[in-house]
C-alpha cells in the first residue's frame, strides 16, 4: 500500500505527516496544496520528489513565508472553490490538516477531486482515545497535540472521526484508495479510530 511505505525515507523532524505524504507522492507529479501554510510541505516535495507544486493559502502572513522559501503560492480562499483550475489539472490535491478548518468541507473535497486525480486528506481524529477521555470522563473540550487550541480560539470548524470520514466518503460516492491512522511517530494499525491521533486518506472519484 502506498501509505505504509514509510521506511528508508528522509527524516523530516517532527512532521510525521510530511513523511507519510512524501511517501505517497510519485516523482515529478503535479501537486496542489490547499491551505499550504508556510509552504514547508511543498518545499519538501519539490526537493525530494521534484514535484511541480502550487499552494493556495488564505493567510497573508503565510504567503510571505512561502515566498521566502521560493514556494509558488496563490493568495485565495479555498472555500470559494477552485474555479480557476480546469478538471484533472493536478496529479494530487493535498488537504493536509486543512479540511477541518474550511467552512464547506464537502464542497472543498469535491473541488479537490475535480481538479486532482487523487486527493490526500489528513485531519485530527476526534475519536482518539485521549479525546474520548477528555470529553467522556473529564467533561472538557479536548486539548491535545493534534487539537492544541482552547475552544474559543480554535481555527477548527469541524470535528470528525475516521469512522465519520469513511461514512462520508461512502455517502458522497468517493472511493478510498487507502487510509492510515497515525500518531507523532508511527502508523497505528490496530483499531485506528481509537488509537490514532490523526488520519490520512488517499481518495479518488468513483
Amino acid at each position: 500500500m502506498l501509505i505504509a511505505k514509510v521506511n528508508n525515507s528522509v527524516y523530516l523532524g517532527e512532521r510525521f505527516d510530511f513523511q507519510i505524504i512524501l511517501n505517497m507522492i510519485r516523482e515529478n507529479s503535479k501537486v496542489l496544496d490547499l491551505g499550504c501554510g508556510d509552504g514547508e510541505l511543498l518545499r519538501i516535495l519539490k526537493e525530494h520528489k521534484n514535484v511541480r507544486g502550487v499552494g493556495i493559502e488564505n493567510d497573508e502572513r503565510m504567503i510571505y513565508a512561502c515566498v521566502s522559501k521560493g514556494v509558488t503560492v496563490e493568495h485565495a480562499d479555498i472555500d470559494e472553490g477552485l474555479p480557476d483550475f480546469p478538471d484533472k489539472f493536478f496529479d494530487y490535491c493535498i488537504l493536509n490538516f486543512t479540511l477541518q478548518e474550511t467552512k464547506k468541507p464537502k464542497k472543498v473535497i469535491h473541488e479537490a477531486l475535480r481538479v486532482g486525480d487523487e486527493v490526500i486528506v489528513s485531519f485530527p481524529n476526534f475519536a482518539y482515545y485521549v479525546v474520548r477521555f477528555s470529553i467522556g470522563i473529564l467533561g472538557k473540550t479536548p486539548r491535545t497535540k493534534a487539537l492544541p487550541y482552547h475552544w474559543d480560539e480554535t481555527p477548527n470548524l469541524h470535528y470528525f472521526t475516521i469512522k465519520d470520514f469513511i461514512e462520508f466518503c461512502d455517502r458522497e460516492n468517493i472511493s478510498i484508495v487507502d487510509y492510515k491512522g497515525f500518531t507523532d511517530s508511527k502508523i497505528i494499525f490496530f483499531y485506528p479510530n481509537f488509537f490514532a491521533e490523526k488520519a490520512v486518506f488517499l481518495l479518488t472519484k468513483k
Binding site: Y64, C66, S68, V73, E74
Partner: protein, 384 residues
C-alpha cells in the same frame, strides 16, 4: 553588504544613490501598431548599479501614467527623489549592489522621450496632435531597442505597477524569451469600461479647456485648468474611500465653520486642488491625452489565446494586488494569475492588505518589499 554613505545634497533630499542624471538614446525609427512610423525616437533613461559581465542581472522598471525615467536617487535636474526610491537602491528590494536597474520614460511622454511636446523634424514645430497615437506595445518595443543598445540579451526582471504593470505583461507577451522574471503590480490584462471612462473624463477636461487650442498651445499658453481637473479625477481613483477618510475625513482647512460659499474649504478639496496645481508644472497636457489613450487601448488578448500563447512559458511571475485598490481591483490581478496558471506558468500571487488604494504600490510597505526581495533572491540564486 557595503553600506554606501548617504549623500546629502543641496536640495535637502538624501538618497544612497546620490545625484542621478537622465541619459538619452536616440534611434532611427519605430514602426507603430497604428501603422505609422515615428522617426527619430529618443528614449530618456536612468540606470542604477552595475551590469555584470554575464549581463544577467538587469532589471527594467516600467513607470505608470505620470512617471518618468527618474525612478531613484536625486535628480540632478529637479532635485527630487525618484518615484520608486523606496524600492530601488543598495539593500532595497531592487538591490543596486546586486542588480543593474534601468528605468526609461515611455514614448508619448514628456520627460525626455519623444512625445507630442517634441519637435517634429519634418516641420520644425512641436508635434502636438500630429504625434502618432502610441500603444503600450509601442512603448515596450521602444524599450526593447534601448535594452538592445545597452547590450542586454535577456532581462533578469521586468517590474512595474499600474501602466508599468501593463508594460511588464506586454514585455512577456512580445519578448517571452527575453524576460526571466516578471512582477506586474496592481494592473490588468485589459482596460475595462470603468477605467476607460475615468480616462475619458480627464481627456475631455483637457480638450475642453480653451487654452488647449487643439493641442497647439506650445509657447503660447497651457491648458492648466483642464490638466489640473484631469489630475484631480486621477487622484481620486488612486486613493481609497478608507484612505481618504483617514487622511481628510470631513475636516475643514484653516477654519472651524462652513463658509457657505464655494471656496475649497474641506481638506480633501484643498488637497486635490494642490495636487492638480502642482501637476501642471511637471506634466504636458498632450502627453496626458496620448498616454491615457495608450492605456485605454491596452488589451493583451482573449484569455483563451493568452493561455495558448503563454503555455509552458519559462518566465516566473510575482503578481501583487492591493486590497483597497478599486481602480485596478484585485480580481483583475487574479485574472492574470488564472491565465498563467492555466498555461502552467510559475506564478505567485499576493493580495496585500492595505488601506491605501491604487497608489499603495508607491508607498513604502514591508509586504511588497519582502515579496519582491525574496522572489528575486530565489530566482537569482537559481540562475539557469
Amino acid at each position: 553588504m557595503v553600506i554606501e554613505l548617504v549623500k546629502e545634497d543641496v536640495f535637502g533630499e538624501s538618497s544612497p544613490l546620490g545625484l542621478r542624471e537622465t541619459k538619452f538614446f536616440t534611434f532611427d525609427s519605430l514602426h507603430l501598431e497604428s501603422g505609422e512610423v515615428l522617426s527619430p525616437v529618443t528614449i530618456a533613461y536612468e540606470t542604477y548599479g552595475e551590469l555584470n559581465n554575464q549581463k544577467d542581472n538587469a532589471i527594467l522598471i516600467c513607470h505608470a501614467l505620470t512617471g518618468d525615467a527618474h525612478a531613484a536617487g536625486i535628480s540632478k535636474e529637479t532635485g527630487k527623489l525618484g518615484w520608486w526610491e523606496i524600492m530601488i537602491g543598495p539593500g532595497k528590494p531592487f538591490d543596486t549592489n546586486k542588480y543593474f536597474v534601468i528605468c526609461s520614460n515611455v514614448i508619448g511622454g514628456c520627460k525626455g522621450s519623444t512625445g507630442p511636446g517634441s519637435i517634429n523634424p519634418n516641420t520644425g514645430k512641436h508635434y502636438g496632435m500630429s504625434f502618432p497615437v502610441v500603444t503600450i506595445r509601442d512603448m515596450v518595443n521602444a524599450q526593447a531597442k534601448l535594452i538592445d543598445h545597452l547590450g542586454i540579451e535577456r532581462l533578469f526582471c521586468v517590474a512595474g505597477g499600474s501602466m508599468g504593470g501593463m508594460q511588464v505583461l506586454q514585455w512577456v507577451y512580445s519578448y517571452p524569451e527575453r524576460v526571466k522574471t516578471a512582477i506586474p503590480i496592481a494592473t490588468t490584462l485589459r482596460h475595462t469600461a470603468q477605467q476607460i471612462a475615468f480616462n475619458e473624463v480627464g481627456r475631455r477636461a483637457i480638450m475642453n479647456d480653451p487654452d488647449w487650442m487643439g493641442g497647439d498651445y506650445y509657447g503660447i499658453t497651457f491648458p492648466a485648468n483642464g490638466l489640473a481637473v484631469a489630475r484631480m479625477i486621477g487622484h481620486i481613483t488612486y486613493m481609497s474611500d478608507l484612505s481618504m477618510k483617514e487622511k481628510f475625513g470631513r475636516k475643514l482647512r484653516n477654519k472651524e465653520k462652513f463658509g457657505y460659499d464655494f471656496e475649497a474649504e474641506f481638506e480633501v478639496e484643498q488637497y486635490l486642488k494642490y495636487r492638480g496645481e502642482t501637476f501642471v508644472h511637471r506634466f504636458d497636457a498632450n502627453s496626458y491625452l496620448y498616454i491615457t489613450k495608450a492605456i485605454d487601448y491596452f488589451d493583451l488578448g482573449d484569455n483563451k489565446d493568452l493561455i495558448k500563447k503563454f503555455y509552458n512559458l519559462k518566465t516566473k511571475f510575482l503578481v501583487i494586488s492591493y486590497s483597497h485598490d478599486w481602480l485596478y481591483p484585485p480580481y483583475q490581478s487574479r485574472e492574470i494569475v488564472k491565465v498563467l496558471k492555466y498555461a502552467w506558468v510559475d506564478v505567485t500571487y499576493c493580495e496585500i492588505s492595505s488601506t491605501y488604494g491604487h497608489d499603495a504600490f508607491l508607498i513604502k510597505n514591508q509586504e511588497q518589499e519582502h515579496l519582491v526581495t525574496h522572489f528575486l533572491n530565489n530566482a537569482y540564486s537559481k540562475g539557469e
